[in-house]
Symmetry: C2
Subunit: 205 residues, 2 copies
């Protein structure tokens, strides 16, 4: 992953995103960036810079919007069952449209929780193994994904998805292990006092 200019990971935030969906993997990946020179991880505004109010009321300030060619985009969910959040971003279509372009350009796509529905709206999960929050598994299947109902993290190469909310910790640690080695992932898990929860399903390549 990445090139001479380093590796860039962006986590796009939208109104009503679920705080832990975004912040927990952000912290895992930002801890990796403290150990990996060329790695840069940033919370960005899905619709450009500015303040974004999350699902439970936290107010986050983003200096930048989504870039032109991040190496990996991690999409949080939130609000799919209650309304607002990912449900609104799905209906508005702007973020899915942008994700479709980035995927076509070679950006690795990751999602936490119902962020998978935004990847589905972008056509990224069609006929591919994927998962999402338990409450949205049927919705994801209706979009044509090959839904894995047992796995907590599903790694299909340039598409990595996981279950609800706290499973983002396990997805991010899996990405760290895959890209920068299991020792760094173990160090970060120890630092964050987290024991990885599975199952983690990796597609045969």
């Amino acid at each position: 992953m990445g090139d001479d200019t380093g590796v860039r990971i962006e986590i796009p935030l939208f109104a009503g995103f679920d705080e832990v969906d975004a912040i927990a993997p952000f912290e895992v990946l930002a801890n990796a960036a403290r150990a990996v020179d060329e790695l840069n991880v940033e919370l960005v505004g899905a619709d450009g810079p500015g303040e974004i109010v999350a699902s439970h009321g936290a107010r986050l300030q983003c200096e930048r919007g989504l870039g032109d060619a991040p190496d990996l985009v991690l999409v949080p969910g939130g609000g799919w069952m209650r309304g607002g959040g990912a449900r609104d971003a799905y209906a508005a279509g702007r973020l899915p449209g942008r994700l479709r372009e980035l995927a076509a350009g070679g950006t690795i796509m990751a999602s936490v929780c119902t962020g998978a529905m935004l990847l589905a709206a972008a056509g990224v999960t069609d006929r591919r193994p994927a998962t999402t929050h338990r409450a949205a598994l049927d919705d994801l299947a209706r979009h044509g994904a090959l839904v894995d109902r047992e796995a907590r993290v599903v790694d299909d190469g340039d598409l990595v998805t996981c279950g609800g909310i706290t499973s983002g910790l396990d997805l991010a640690l899996h990405v760290v292990a895959r890209e920068w080695g299991p020792e760094l992932a173990a160090d970060i898990a120890r630092l964050m006092e987290h024991e990885v929860v599975g199952p983690i399903r990796v597609s045969a390549s």
Copy 2:
């Protein structure tokens, strides 16, 4: 906990606080507030309203500072070993001083990770069972706390502490179970796709 005006929980943020220390229990408790009418949960500025930059660079906007008499204050940690964050808040002394006053006034004190060191500086953990991030257990013991090196969450009534970073999920779910019942805590754990991690040590009262 609480009175006719309801129950108020405040999570004071300071420069360099650890994002997950604060945001993970915030989301657990905010989910409880969706089910418990009189419960209000807020991220507040330790030194008043304004923007606070967290340990990994997330920028949070707080509308209010710590109130006069919240029912429970949950103190995050961050930066204890690297410097900055809780280490600076400890040295500056303002937040510990405020916590000392609140504890004297009857506010229940909770901490995640090295937030326990700010409670220690406030004198709140003296000769009481408590815990903190693994890397700070010796520091906490030197302050006179009865450090529990095995437990993930230590409940000593009006003092509730836990281990590092992700253990804040388990602390917050324990507080929800204790105050509003295990069924609500189980509902929130299921929603957040988190299995509670222990041991949880409750002092004999």
